[in-house]
């Protein structure tokens, strides 16, 4: 009997598939969890293929000053409304500190002045929003890899998580705070920097002051703004929504190289 039901289910499923594909308006199929998990296969495929072709250190294209966007569009939060952030901002971020912790040997706290005193890298790169637009800006900041070597990653560390000062979606359980994560390949990539300077000036609030991540081979939502804490972790499942980022928790790809 169960076989009959299974077969009937299969037929119902097949009919739904056929009708949904025939009509773009049929959204039942789009919303099914099984469909989503099948479609997700493509993300792993894209990541593995790109990583295979890229090697770990292939660089994103760097542009010249002449290529800079006249206006760099700000996206996401442009003014965090949390009181702690406003206090930092009103003191020109002199009291702000970046925490580096989690699975590291020597947790650290760095002030903005200390970060600016570290060796920096400058790069003129293109920022690609998942929506489709692009803007070119010049970023200066501390290579993340150098910082991670200073604090020393524990062997179990697999991902670097970036906690932010903006609550992009107000929720009761705090799951609306912006955060992002990357793996160690991207964390140690030479163009992955913690940028404190944009187009030669201190990073503006709309662009993530005082510090934002640049991970140049991925889309805009990976470039977390308003950084407060960097955490090395072994897995992403227990943080916030469990998918490794604010937008990832809302259905977007964790690997945003495409």
């Amino acid at each position: 009997m169960s076989r009959i039901i299974t077969r009937r289910r299969f037929l119902i499923g097949a009919t739904m598939t056929a009708s949904a594909l025939g009509l773009s308006g049929c959204d039942a199929l789009v919303e099914s969890d099984r469909t989503k998990s099948v479609l997700k296969i493509a993300e792993g495929f894209s990541m593995k293929t790109q990583r295979f072709l890229l090697g770990d250190d292939a660089l994103a294209r760097e542009f010249t000053e002449a290529d800079l966007s006249p206006v760099f569009r700000a996206n996401g939060t442009s003014m965090p409304d949390n009181p702690q952030y406003l206090d930092w901002m009103n003191r020109q971020f002199s009291t702000w500190k970046l925490e580096v912790g989690g699975l590291v040997e020597k947790p650290m706290q760095l002030s903005l002045a200390e970060l600016k005193a570290l060796p920096a890298r400058s790069q003129i790169t293109r920022h690609d929003c998942v929506e489709g637009w692009s803007a070119i800006g010049k970023w200066t900041g501390v290579p993340l890899g150098a910082l991670l070597k200073t604090v020393g990653l524990k062997p179990e560390a697999r991902y670097i998580v970036f906690h932010c000062a903006d609550e992009y979606e107000k929720t009761l359980d705090g799951s609306g705070w912006y955060y992002e994560s990357i793996d160690l390949v991207d964390a140690f990539h030479p163009q992955t920097i913690l940028a404190h300077t944009m187009n030669g000036r201190d990073l503006e609030v709309a662009h993530g002051a005082p510090l934002r991540l640049r991970v140049e081979r991925q889309l805009g939502y990976k470039q977390a703004k308003y950084l407060t804490r960097i955490e090395a972790v072994a897995d992403l499942g227990r943080l916030y929504g469990g998918s490794g980022g604010f937008w990832e928790d809302r259905g977007y790809e964790w690997y945003a190289g495409i």
Partner: protein, 280 residues
């Protein structure tokens, strides 16, 4: 015409026209291109403007854009193409979603999913993009090895003379389709169109799509130079999709006009009936 039904009772010859791999890859392609088009329009709607060059966002001049504007107490949808502006209310820029006028590039009946959901649109798009590429490679490999391209798609020298092509255009316009021995092969217009679609438009879709990927830019930065930047590639991707849609419309029209049953059967079973000369 000179051809006479010499003894053939039915006046028809049935030939085996499409091999299994051609038929299979054709229908997989139909599925892929359908999903890619509608999910692509969903993705486009997230930022319904196209630019030229390396960058492009709200403050940069766009080449094509759609928007909804308030005019008094009414809203209207506008589409800008270069310096021209068209009122496209109800279709582009502003259209009804559940009975309510909503600002969106393309209307809900053209996007997948129908409601605004970029994340889902991308998941569908990339899954079927992979399927499309795998299917395309299988077809290309088969076409080369089986000599399908050389035998069926490569126009012969004498088919490319202006007189011959002109003659075919006139016949097409009059809906006079080849019969008898001529119908055993694709005519020149078909060959040229299929060659353009298979070797130009479809690869262009894949390459411009890859050029929009920041990861793939690091793999193959030269693609940025080929297309003049990520935003140019995005524009070409859109225009090529438009061309392919136009091709499909004409293709389906021709399938219907030149014998829908026979054509569909040949792309499903492989067998195609040829009328011998003029109909009695």
């Amino acid at each position: 015409m000179a051809t006479i039904d010499a003894g053939a009772a039915t006046g028809r010859t049935v030939i085996y026209r499409h091999s299994l791999l051609v038929r299979l890859s054709h229908w997989v392609n139909v599925l892929c291109m359908t999903v890619l088009l509608f999910s692509g329009l969903q993705i486009f709607n997230a930022h319904p403007a196209l630019y030229w060059g390396q960058y492009g966002a709200d403050n940069d001049p766009s080449f094509i854009s759609m928007e909804a504007v308030e005019e008094g107490d009414r809203a209207k949808g506008l589409t800008h193409v270069g310096s021209l502006t068209f009122n496209t209310t109800g279709f582009l820029g502003l259209s009804e979603v559940d009975g309510e006028a909503t600002a969106r590039g393309f209307p809900d009946w053209l996007t997948m999913p129908s409601y605004q959901d970029l994340a889902s649109g991308r998941r569908w798009h990339f899954f079927f993009a992979w399927l499309f590429v795998i299917n395309g490679f299988a077809y290309l490999l088969y076409g080369l090895l089986s000599r399908h391209f050389r035998r069926d798609l490569l126009p012969a020298g004498n088919e490319l003379t202006p007189a011959h092509i002109g003659h075919e255009i006139v016949n097409h316009a009059r809906l006079r389709f080849p019969k008898g021995p001529e119908a055993r092969h694709y005519n020149t217009l078909q060959k040229l169109t299929y060659v353009a679609v298979i070797f130009l438009l479809l690869p262009l879709m894949v390459l411009t799509g890859l050029t929009m990927s920041p990861g793939f830019n690091a793999v193959a930065p030269w693609l940025l130079d080929v297309f003049g930047g990520r935003q140019s590639a995005r524009t070409i991707h859109f225009l090529t999709a438009f061309s392919l849609t136009a091709f499909v419309v004409v293709h389906v029209a021709m399938v219907i006009l030149s014998g829908v049953f026979n054509n569909l059967r040949s792309m499903i079973t492989g067998y195609y009936a040829i009328e011998q000369g003029d109909k009695q």
